[in-house]
């Protein structure tokens, strides 16, 4: 296959390759300080740790490409995990409990979506409201007490298949599914079109409302899956599960090359973004650095990623500095 052929594959684009290179270079650099960093065990630890954020990032990626945002994912994750556990503790079959959790997640997304689409309220505000409402509801339902979950679903967060943790398999499976839906399905391309130029999408007859509803439902569903994984991982559903994770999720998507101005983004990128965040956290622990430094470095990575993306888009090629530099080097 020619070079151009490889570039046309849905999974390999310059942006993802670049991010993958950053991850690899950083991993090698960290391994000089702590050889344990580059072991299979540690790789596995990182993946297990990022699965929850990564799964939500897949849904969020669709939302951001459609030029919307979903701030409620952390809360919806908590609520749906708790509802699932609640249903199982009330005697429902675990499979039905899982369905309840998924339905709650999708329902939350649908409600946000309906208000955004038909109420014409900015998604930032709507999902900010949903963030509070869902979290409040979680406390109301649980009374603040943890709910033990059915041991039969614990394999989701604790089991292994062929030596690979189940939640990592779920994460990877959803990444592949998400990338195919985004790049090779009509719905995915509609999301891209709506995010790039909504007026053009409307004029060419793309169903705006259902497309935008769909991204919020996706995001809610992804949050529910993350909620189930997290609950199974820690064996209990807690009311505060997922608090604050929305920022990590959005950061992962942005690091992955999605643009908040819509129309651009990649699921593979979001996955790599989530991994990069997890790897940084992990490295700071292994290198025994202050957790405060860790928080700072995560913030730096987010902003650097966005800056680099602007650079890649050619935002600075006409800037005075760039021109002076080019003159300096005789170009």
């Amino acid at each position: 296959m020619s070079v151009a052929g490889v570039r046309n594959l849905p999974f390999l684009k310059g942006q993802e390759l670049g991010l993958a290179a950053v991850v690899i270079v950083l991993s090698i650099a960290f391994s000089f300080f702590n050889p344990h960093f580059l072991t299979t065990d540690n790789f596995r630890n990182i993946l297990v740790a990022v699965a929850v954020v990564g799964i939500m990032a897949i849904g969020q990626c669709f939302v951001i490409i459609a030029k919307e945002i979903d701030l409620s994912v952390g809360s919806v994750m908590g609520l749906s995990g708790l509802c699932g556990a609640y249903a199982m503790s009330a005697g429902l079959h675990p499979a039905l409990g899982v369905l309840v959790a998924l339905a709650v997640g999708a329902g939350c997304g649908l409600i946000s979506g309906l208000i955004v689409v038909y109420g014409k309220v900015n998604s930032f505000i709507v999902t900010l409201g949903m963030l509070s409402v869902a979290r409040g509801l979680t406390y109301v339902l649980s009374g603040g007490l943890p709910i033990l979950i059915d041991p039969r679903v614990m394999f989701i967060g604790q089991g292994e298949v062929l030596g690979i943790p189940v939640q990592v398999l779920i994460f990877f499976g959803l990444v592949v599914l998400g990338q195919i839906v985004l790049k090779r399905s009509v719905l995915g391309q509609r999301v891209v079109a709506v995010g790039d130029n909504d007026e053009a999408a409307r004029l060419s007859g793309i169903p705006m409302n259902s497309t935008r509803l769909a991204v919020f439902v996706f995001s809610g569903l992804a949050a529910a899956v993350a909620g189930l994984v997290y609950t199974a991982q820690v064996s209990v559903a807690e009311a505060q599960a997922g608090t604050g994770l929305e920022l990590d999720v959005i950061a992962a998507v942005v690091i992955g090359g999605a643009s908040l101005s819509g129309g651009r983004g990649s699921i593979i990128g979001a996955m790599l973004g989530a991994y990069l965040l997890g790897a940084l956290r992990n490295a700071f622990i292994l290198l025994e650095l202050s957790p405060f430094l860790q928080q700072m470095s995560v913030g730096l990575v987010i902003v650097l990623a966005a800056l680099f993306d602007q650079f890649r888009q050619g935002a600075f090629q006409h800037s005075v500095l760039a021109i002076r530099l080019r003159r300096l080097f005789g170009r």
Binding site: V192, G205, P207
Partner: protein, 529 residues
């Protein structure tokens, strides 16, 4: 540098020497040397992609030249950004007015003060409106806006253009670039614009006019500069360089093959046949009691001034705006579209008048061309990228999009080529009715001719029903088999192509009737050959 000093005389407001600009591998401008003089209107002519816009961007600090120099009043200047150019007396009126919709007309006119004044300066809306009124009076536009404290959101395209021009003049420029200022204006509005230009010439401003409407350009200009493929290919006074010669220079050798192409003759339309679109007694926002019949294989042109209700009629019929009363039949079946999507599903394609609201700028030609028909390249909601791109390539070739491949980003195309991609997108769903609002706005002469030939073939050979809106008389008379004239929300004339149609259209668009008749005679002779 020697060339620069010799070419700059006391009357040169702005001159450039050996100016060049490349974007990656593409050389948009090659060694251009020219000057614009005080008290002269210079027309900058050329097809899309000839380098006119690049030249303007280099002169106004939006882009930086790769080679060469820009001199203002004979002094070589660096223009690192548009603000620096404005400070040196260079103003640009862009093709698409860049207004802040949420601000008032007066605030938009003096928008530059937001950048100039200290941030703590008081904002006095009353004083601003007074100053704006004084400025408009200076350019004899005092009657243009009733209320200068109105928000810009509700302005028409022509009014937005005037605000943009007033804003440019607020800075009292020495050199004023007008980039396609009349492409969305009717004849009457163009006359008002040209009145301003004449006034500016008397005040010895150097005015540079870019336009594709040669007839109008030649009315107002003193000097003509023709560009092609990034180079200057001709320069002279309007007397030395007549219109026909300018057209030849703009198109180069390619015009010959263009005129040689024979075009399909109009079909005989059987008036008793079931029309593709039949509208009876339709009333909606800004129009009432409209009857329309469009048959398969027929090209219907709708002429009318901006604000006459022509766009509103289309929007009402398509379901983009509500329809209060009336009936619509599509191929004999009664229909009522609630949304544009409904209309698209029923086999109607629509291209809106503003390209900016139609193009997915972040993506390639293939994405733009196939955005409506993805379901066709696969099943169950998934599609094959290979089949999609093959389809896109085939359709792009059919309409003659000039690009390396359909994987080329659409941003890299000229306006005319983008318009062709939009046409290909509209045709991708194999519609039975194609509706075009200002199909060739801001498109160069040659691309226009290509698009006319294409549309005519689609209708006359393949039997597509075409309904288009235009405020260009030439376009209506050239393309339409039948002409509808809209005035004040009603269809006041509906006649077949012919000398009578020419007169009717001319009066509707406020043009001179002699011009129309002359145009028609020319066309008839052309067809006789």
């Amino acid at each position: 540098m020697a060339g620069m000093t010799s070419s700059s005389s006391a009357t040169d407001a702005l001159s450039v020497a050996d100016l060049g600009k490349s974007f990656g591998a593409v050389q948009a401008l090659k060694d251009v040397t020219l000057s614009f003089r005080y008290g002269e209107v210079t027309a900058l002519l050329g097809e899309n992609g000839a380098g006119k816009s690049t030249l303007i961007r280099l002169c106004s600090g939006e882009h930086q030249p790769t080679t060469g120099k820009v001199a203002i009043d004979g002094q070589v200047r660096e223009l690192p950004n548009p603000l620096a150019a404005t400070a040196l007396g260079i103003a640009v009126v862009h093709q698409e007015p860049q207004l802040v919709s949420a601000m008032t007309i007066a605030e938009n006119i003096f928008l530059a003060r937001l950048g100039g004044n200290a941030a703590v300066a008081a904002h006095r809306p009353g004083a601003l409106a007074r100053e704006a009124r004084a400025l408009l009076a200076e350019i004899s536009l005092s009657g243009a806006f009733a209320d200068l404290s109105m928000k810009c959101a509700g302005l028409s395209a022509a009014e937005r253009q005037l605000v943009e021009i007033a804003r440019a003049l607020a800075a009292k420029p020495k050199v004023l670039f007008l980039d396609e200022p009349n492409s969305s204006l009717t004849r009457r509005e163009t006359d008002r614009l040209f009145g301003i230009v004449r006034l500016l010439r008397e005040q010895s401003v150097a005015v540079v006019l870019v336009s594709h409407r040669l007839g109008e350009v030649y009315e107002i200009s003193d000097r003509v500069i023709v560009m092609r493929d990034g180079s200057k290919v001709g320069e002279g006074t309007v007397g030395d360089l007549p219109k026909t010669q300018a057209i030849r220079l703009m198109a180069g050798d390619r015009l010959v093959e263009q005129t040689a192409r024979d075009e399909a003759a109009a079909r005989e339309i059987d008036p008793k046949a079931v029309p593709v679109l039949r509208v009876r007694g339709a009333s909606g926002i800004a129009f009432s009691d409209v009857d329309i019949d469009i048959h398969a294989g027929e090209i219907v042109g709708m002429a009318g001034l901006v604000g006459s209700g022509r766009t509103e009629i289309v929007r009402g019929v398509l379901g983009a705006d509500p329809l209060y009363s009336g009936s619509i039949e599509l191929n004999g079946d009664p229909v009522r579209f609630r949304t544009l999507r409904d209309a698209v599903k029923h086999g109607i394609s629509f291209i809106s008048e503003e390209r900016r609201t139609s193009v997915f700028y972040g993506h390639d030609i293939g994405f733009n061309l196939t955005s409506n028909v993805l379901g066709r390249f696969g099943r169950l909601g998934f599609f094959s990228q290979r089949r999609r791109m093959r389809f896109a390539q085939e359709r792009a070739d059919r309409v003659g999009v000039k690009a390396e491949s359909v994987a080329t980003p659409i941003r890299a195309l000229s306006g005319g080529n983008q318009q062709k991609v939009l046409l290909a997108r509209a045709l991708a769903s194999n519609p039975s009715l194609l509706i075009l609002d200002e199909p060739t706005r801001g498109v160069d002469v040659r691309t226009k001719a290509e698009m006319y030939a294409l549309i005519r073939n689609l209708a006359h050979v393949e039997g597509l029903a075409v309904w288009f809106i235009s405020s260009e008389m030439d376009e209506i008379l050239h393309l339409a088999d039948r002409v509808m004239v809209v005035r004040e929300g009603r269809i006041v004339d509906n006649i077949a192509k012919g000398p009578q149609a020419a007169q009717v259209v001319a009066s509707a668009l406020g043009e001179k009737a002699e011009d129309a008749v002359a145009f028609f005679g020319r066309q008839e002779r052309g067809e006789a050959h």
